[in-house]
Point group: C4
Chain length 203, copies 4
């Protein structure tokens, strides 16, 4: 798994630098993950407490489906996984996503505050970017209450989840988005963030 | 046409990277085109589904006046043209423009929502940048309803069109702007986007 | 004057690229000048119609106190001066400034629209950056009506002028700021723009 | 102390360039400091009047606990310390911080104006980044009146201070934030600035 982990670390560092350049990962906020294997579930997740604009390939660690660091020679350089790794693993397991992005944006916090029951979007071409209809039907990006308990956060997400929407707003916290791979997770992140900015500006 | 297509691809990749750096092409949104010839009409258009900040010269394809990919040795590397290529071709044919830019900006969506009958601009020096009078007369940037049918979109634009205005806002979608060549299309895009931002801020 | 003009062109290109990177010179908007000599008055001014983010040292021309291009071997490469060169020359002559910056910002247009009699600023530490008191006394950045007649624009500015304020907002147009040299003109531009953004946000 | 001062200058120049790139140090505004020693207290502080986006390692000077420049061979290249150096020294002495950042942001000025008795924050995950609880308890970022007298500014801060909050808003002026070292001061600056932006957007 060493080469795979190194490749995952390289990808995650590049993606994190991109989102940091947008101002979406201020301080050491946010985290990203890539699925390394599914049987058993293993994810490479960015290490906790580091500046997301200057990660290196080594700044990842491997977690299992509970978000716990995996020991042993395949585990990565032993950095501490983000506390939110368990929620990343939950999203990857339930949705089948291969990559998960979590960023802290002001627009996500404003949208979550304004629409605690979900952000209803309609008649926006950009919806096509998450596989939804650009006109007619409404799409709701779920909003869930924040929690420091990742199991609780995961339960809230599963209860609120719309299978067609690859994102969730955590109130007072930020945005999670995901996709089949890092590139599609990136696109979903950018698109949902744009939709949240538009929703706030249109309200 | 190979060298011409390569040159067009190089230009379009550079222009797309510029607009992406402004945050106007999030996800894989937006597309750009250059007229390669007029008899018959042929356009180089950016390929669909790619990140607009990292296109290469090869990430273009050739379409005819209906937006359909042109087969044969001169057709480019066979990537799929954007679904909106037909509207690019319509704009190029009707207006005589040599380059068309389409970006997804929040300001365009807000302006289109607020002024569904057109964005009326007046007494702004920046209007000179699209060839209009900076004082006295009003200029209206048309706003048209969105559609997935490019012929319908084109008909709406022709019905709403002001020949002196090289841009149109598509409601719930974004901005199209054009010019004689890539540089002038760039300038018109930047200027109309600035005017939309100003109109929203002044309202 | 050749070496001096080349040095001026290099400086103006760098300053213009800086302001363009902030989004303050969209399209081909705005222009900058440096005083080359005072007896008679000669300014190097950025050429008209070019993208301000990618000027070269050669993209300047020399004008006299009326803003007219100066002919002859010392005149620069013969590009067309900006139409606003005459207002640059007027500011340089009357204020004694060695450098003048003109940018098109949305905040300047919003402030000019909201406060047509001048933007009153008070109790802001940033005022020290233009040599004003940070507390107690009010400072007014003049706002003048726009005109295509540079003599009229200059008369309006002289009538509204506060000698202690190195900037003026032109309504529906943008911001002019100046200083003893290019660096101080840059700082005054950035500071007044910040003050306008703050004034709009505080209103 | 020469090598230590050179290292401090290098660090401060890099940190200042980062904040300048965010638009938080327009003109020559803001300043940064690093503690060099505590017995007696000595700080390296950025020199006054320079552009914060292009400092070099030499653009620092050494001050004592009163903010006065320290003479002698260990004093640095003799540039003038920022007038606010005394407040940096006060913060370092009282809080034990090893690094202090001062930036001029519009959000800090807006928040200080809107909440002159302190910015109350609650139920925001980002609070964890300054060591506070993300839910339940409120955290108040103190707001103090501006002053040109650094002793008065220091007294106001000590009177308003919450030991758990590594930041203070100076009304009509900007934001101070600090941490054990330059990296943690950076993170606290970014996090508090994000919290101020969110508070303004949520209000």
């Amino acid at each position: 798994m060493s080469a795979a982990l190194d490749a995952a670390g390289t990808t995650l560092a590049a993606e994190a630098a991109r989102f940091a350049s947008f101002g979406w990962m201020r301080g050491t906020s946010g985290n990203l993950s890539l699925v390394l294997g599914r049987d058993p579930l293993r994810l490479a997740v960015t290490a906790s407490g580091l500046d997301k604009g200057s990660l290196t390939a080594a700044d990842v660690t491997v977690v299992d489906e509970t978000g716990a660091a995996v020991a042993g020679p395949d585990a990565g350089p032993g950095r501490k996984p983000s506390a939110e790794a368990a929620f990343h693993a939950r999203i990857a397991r339930v949705s089948g996503a291969g990559a998960v992005v979590h960023v802290h944006t002001v627009a996500a916090v404003v949208a979550g505050h304004r629409w605690p029951d979900g952000v209803v979007l309609r008649d926006l071409e950009m919806l096509k970017g998450i596989g939804a209809a650009p006109a007619g039907a409404a799409v709701t990006v779920p909003v869930i209450g924040n929690s420091q308990d990742m199991a609780e956060l995961g339960d809230r997400w599963e209860a609120a989840r719309d299978e067609g929407v690859p994102a969730v707003v955590v109130a007072g916290h930020g945005l999670y988005a995901w996709g089949a791979d890092a590139l599609r997770a990136r696109h979903h992140t950018e698109i949902v963030q744009w939709l949240l900015e538009a929703a706030v500006a249109l309200a």
